[in-house]
Symmetry: C2
Subunit: 223 residues, 2 copies
DNA sequence: ACATATTAATAGTATTACTATCATATATTT
DNA sequence: AAATATATGATAGTAATACTATTAATATGT
């Protein structure tokens, strides 16, 4: 992908102080992505992050009120990025079938770095989405947070792809279930392929995840 | 389901002292299921459990070395129970197609109480599986724990259903992906329908989750 | 009645996830 | 250049968590 130096705007409810507004904020985001990956979300703490970036714990709290809030921010950044890619990659395609194939590929393929966004490593962020995002929404506060729009970007991606499905088959009953199933499913498969391979049929270099879900969707929506 | 007073045997690696061997142990299991449901796994602690059952925190540690270990125990109990139901409900059915339909229904339908197992509330346990099981395996210790057999029962269920899929279509390439996708997918849909309904197409009393996944599987495996 | 196993009570530890306060450095305005 | 505002840093403190260790009390089996 080209180096466009784009900017993704994040809902201000998702931070206390905009991390993109300062060098420290950007370091918080980029380093937290690396550390959540290496330590796992449980063992990751603002104290450790502070030590790593040579800054103070209390300064980090000025950007995010908790590590949960930081995780929600990262998840939203990711889905805004995916939404941008979705719109970009399906632009000017008139045949709905082709749009859908592009969309499924985007949602199920392995993520590659996007140099249009300097301080975020999309490959590592994708790993966080796969391993940690369930921890963000499987909380007792989900309904309150949902009302505040914490999961809006994810829902918007599902809606966009559902719309493509309905373009192909307007009477298909379950477009949202289909799309959320393949998104979550593909993430599970990538996790399982590394840690619980007997739950998958992944083979090196054969692109089975994309093939499986593409085929699944196309068969599902034929009437 | 009949009241058979059955017993599910759990791998001894999953507890320090068998909770079924004493009244305290059974109370730990049954009360923890209720409390994890009401508090969520994060806010649930052995101290609170001790207070609730009128016992001491240190006594609980004699049965489970951590609350994570308890969660893994519960997950294994659940999947052993599902495996038993799967074998029971598909016994004596010769037509593979019918076996598969039964299996998918079992894996995607809403769970009902099973009075064959006195001190476990399967309805609540199912809710724990839906909301908390990702937290059990999305840890840094997954590979070590997988080696110790912590996820064996789940994998066995997936394998059994995959075998039925292969009976119907021996050349189907992705039976494990298909089965794990529908299991995880159905759980997600039940969670989403309560908290993020725009990600689903669930309608009251229309059994859409079972219908969607049954249809998805049947269409996927036709060659 | 006595040994043994089980459970309870109490205390203690390192760490976490913060909050609060105050000092200092840096940037902006006048 | 001085005054002011803003951002960051340093330090300390708190309640709770997830345990461990030790000792005492109680129940059970022979």
């Amino acid at each position: 992908m080209e180096n466009l130096q784009l900017h993704i705007t994040i809902n201000p409810e998702l931070y206390t102080k905009d991390p993109e507004s300062s060098e420290l904020g950007q370091k918080i985001v980029s380093t937290s992505i690396a550390m959540i990956n290496s330590l796992g979300f449980e063992a990751f703490t603002f104290r450790k992050l502070g030590v790593q970036i040579g800054s103070n714990e209390s300064s980090i709290y000025r950007y995010f009120e908790s590590k949960h809030a930081l995780l929600v921010y990262l998840i939203n950044w990711y889905w805004s990025w995916i939404e941008y890619k979705l719109v970009f990659e399906t632009a000017n395609i008139t045949i709905a079938q082709d749009k859908l194939t592009k969309a499924i590929t985007l949602l199920t393929e392995e993520v590659e770095e996007d140099n249009s966004f300097t301080f975020i490593n999309e490959v590592l962020l994708n790993k966080i989405i796969i391993s940690e995002s369930a921890k963000a929404y499987h909380t007792k506060d989900i309904d309150k947070e949902n009302e505040k729009g914490f999961y809006k970007t994810y829902k918007r991606v599902v809606q966009r792809v559902s719309d493509i499905v309905l373009e192909i088959n307007p009477s298909f009953e379950f477009p949202h279930m289909l799309v959320s199933t393949i998104i979550e499913g593909a993430h599970h498969q990538r996790f399982f392929s590394k840690h619980l391979p007997s739950l998958t049929d992944v083979e090196e270099g054969k692109n089975n995840i994309v093939r499986f879900y593409s085929d699944l969707v196309l068969k599902a929506i034929v009437s």
